[in-house]
């Protein structure tokens, strides 16, 4: 009886006497009230679900009919609640977003308008501006789709968003959870396999893992992984995301033909008679370890990325002899972490019975260190920790590719450090063993406190002392920025 009345009430087919009957039942019978409330409650949930549904299984664009029906709303919005007006609904007549810059992306051109359709980019990075003014950079490989100017579905790829007040509520939907922005800068990483991550650089984001009951408020510096319906805290990956201000320099670098220059220079180093190893990570061959293969400095190029504790890359080179001189260089894009040391290159055989084993790393204070076991500092050396350390911080506040190099000379008893092609510091040694290599790791050293977090590209090991000019040229040739 009551169910029939409730169904008719929902269908709008109730007669006036029936309405009276229903009201009387609801007033007198708590059980009917409960059933009524449960059905209406489900009705609300069904409507919410239907709003995000399309035939092909992808969520639909938001309805826009609200706006037309709501003069009072618009007036209120205009009079001060501006933040709300841009929030739920928007005019779907216009593009949801526009491509501002496409760097190395063949699938999209500058100025393209994006609406409710799927996009895939295989290489490069693209900077977008939404209709609400949110600035978004998406790095390939990526698949994404705007449901509206305020809702972006990321199937995979990496995104950094800078959201102004007018676009508050901008939401990124991933297969494993959603991130709702409250006017901030944040990043979302959706790896090809594995769980998505949300990183808040500034402001506040609300995160909700798929299927989770609870929403979580994330503040500046917070980061989480969506993992099987729950959010797990993780370290902030401050440099994992390309942000809007980096894009213009990357596009300018590409336009200036930097990549061709870099490739040509690499060929030169490959034929250097003192070459021990040059890893550009472009071929898959024989790189063992645990890491993600992601985009390198150039659109479509590759670099290993170390994300989790224990990630590493194994290498076994130069173990057949001693190296009186050794130059080490790499492009890196690293997070600023609290971890004491980040391993750039650590030989496994570091042991007092094996002098000359090499450890190249970044210290907690973000300077660079080159330590060889058994070496001692010159009395004139001014070092705080008893090892040769560089002077200048080598990690920028935000994500950037930087070029690090160090040159060791056991005969001259010197360690020299370089940052972005520029000489930084020299440390004099008292005892200087020839360098010894062999089995080694990049990104770790069998110890958690050597965890490296970020990407490494174009790692060069040369069995001679490179000159200042050579380091300068190495940086200049490989620099992705202009």
């Amino acid at each position: 009886m009551s169910t029939k009345l409730i169904d008719a009430y929902l269908d709008g087919s109730l007669t006036a006497p029936e309405m009276q009957q229903l009201n009387a039942l609801l007033l007198s019978d708590a059980e009917v009230r409960r059933e009524f409330a449960e059905i209406l409650n489900m009705d609300s949930a069904l409507a919410a679900m239907a709003a995000g549904w399309t035939k092909d299984g992808a969520p639909a664009a938001r309805q826009t009919h609200w706006r037309a029906r709501s003069p009072r709303w618009i007036a209120a919005a205009a009079s001060g609640a501006l933040l709300l007006s841009g929030w739920w609904w928007q005019n779907s007549q216009h593009a949801f977003a526009t491509v501002e810059k496409a760097a190395g992306v063949v699938e999209m051109a500058d100025g393209s308008a994006l609406r409710d359709e799927s996009h895939e980019i295989k290489a490069g990075s693209v900077a977008l501006v939404t209709a609400r003014g949110a600035r978004i950079v998406i790095e390939a490989p990526a698949e994404f789709r705007f449901e509206s100017a305020q809702r972006l579905h990321m199937k995979r790829g990496r995104l950094a968003a800078d959201v102004p007040p007018a676009a508050k509520g901008f939401t990124v939907i991933t297969p494993t959870g959603d991130a709702i922005d409250l006017g901030t800068r944040f990043g979302v990483d959706v790896p090809s396999s594995g769980s998505a991550e949300v990183h808040v650089f500034q402001g506040e984001v609300i995160a909700k893992a798929s299927g989770a009951k609870a929403k979580q408020s994330l503040r500046t510096g917070d980061a989480i992984t969506f993992d099987q319906g729950a959010s797990t805290s993780r370290e902030l990956r401050s440099s994992a995301f390309i942000q809007a201000d980096e894009m213009s320099e990357l596009t300018a670098g590409l336009a200036a033909g930097r990549r061709a220059q870099s490739d040509a220079a690499l060929e030169k180093w490959k034929s250097d008679s003192a070459l021990i190893a040059l890893l550009d990570f472009e071929t898959d061959d024989a790189l063992t370890g645990i890491f993600r293969r992601v985009q390198g400095r150039w659109p479509g190029s590759h670099a290993p990325e170390f994300v989790n504790v224990g990630d590493h890359l194994k290498l076994d080179v130069g173990g057949d002899r001693d190296w009186p001189q050794l130059s080490l260089a790499a492009w890196v894009r690293l997070d600023r972490l609290g971890a004491p040391y980040q391993s750039l290159f650590h030989t496994d055989g570091w042991d007092s019975s094996n002098p000359g084993q090499v450890h190249w790393m970044i210290n907690r204070d973000t300077t660079m260190r080159l330590a060889l076991i058994g070496n001692t500092l010159s009395r004139d050396a001014n070092e705080r920790d008893g090892h040769p350390d560089s002077r200048t911080s080598v990690l920028p506040e935000q994500g950037r590719w930087v070029h690090l190099a160090t040159v060791y000379d056991s005969r001259a008893k010197t360690v020299r450090f370089y940052l972005n092609g520029q000489f930084d510091k020299q440390t004099l040694l008292h005892v200087a063993h020839p360098a010894r290599l062999g089995p080694s790791q990049i990104g770790n050293w069998n110890q958690q406190d050597r965890k490296l977090s970020g990407r490494v590209d174009e790692l060069l090991l040369l069995g001679r002392a490179m000159t200042d000019d050579e380091i300068y040229a190495l940086h200049a040739a490989g620099n992705p920025y202009r």
């Binding site: 169910t3 169904d7 009430y9 929902l10 269908d11 709008g12 087919s13 109730l14 006036a16 309405m19 229903l22 009201n23 609801l26 007033l27 009230r33 409960r34 009524f36 409330a37 449960e38 059905i39 209406l40 409650n41 489900m42 009705d43 609300s44 949930a45 069904l46 409507a47 919410a48 679900m49 239907a50 709003a51 549904w53 035939k55 639909a60 309805q63 609200w66 029906r69 709501s70 009072r72 709303w73 209120a76 609640a81 933040l83 709300l84 929030w87 007040p165 508050k168 509520g169 709702i180 409250l182 006017g183 402001g203 506040e204 609300i206 299927g211 009951k213 929403k215 408020s217």
Partner: protein
Amino acid sequence: MSESEIEFQHRFLRLFTMHESAIRAFVRRLVPRRADADDVMQEVSVVLWDKFDSFHEGGDFRAWAFGVARFEVLAWMRDKGRDRLVLNEDVVLKIAEESAEVEPRRERQREALEVCMNKVPADQRALIMQAYQSESRIQEVARESGRTVAGFYQWLHRMRKLLLDCIRRALTQEVVS
């Protein structure tokens, strides 16, 4: 905009975003049509924003919002509901009062819908979603499904019943496990 104004907006947005679906469902339980709920909801969000400076930090936002929403529903009924078949005020007050007490359970019920919908065969799920996307198009959806309009409504009632049973079962199991 000053720092404190931005912080004020953030605070509001955070709370509103977290509780929007509960407030919307609250309103929906008190008005006859989904479109009515949309209308009332817009008023409610404007009022919440306007009066947010009177909301005490650390207070129960949802309870406060339910209070505002109840008032707006009654106002809507006096205005628009006069020539419509609506719940009477005493019923509205009773359901509103009970809503606040059982909201955690109602929220779990709304969330359980997703699981239950996944048990419905895809073609039928699609029909339900189409029916719910636009109340005005329901006759069209009925025709496309090959049913009569009356038959379609009957079918929809059955599906709602099945879903509600599933949701209730899901919550019972939740208590047991």
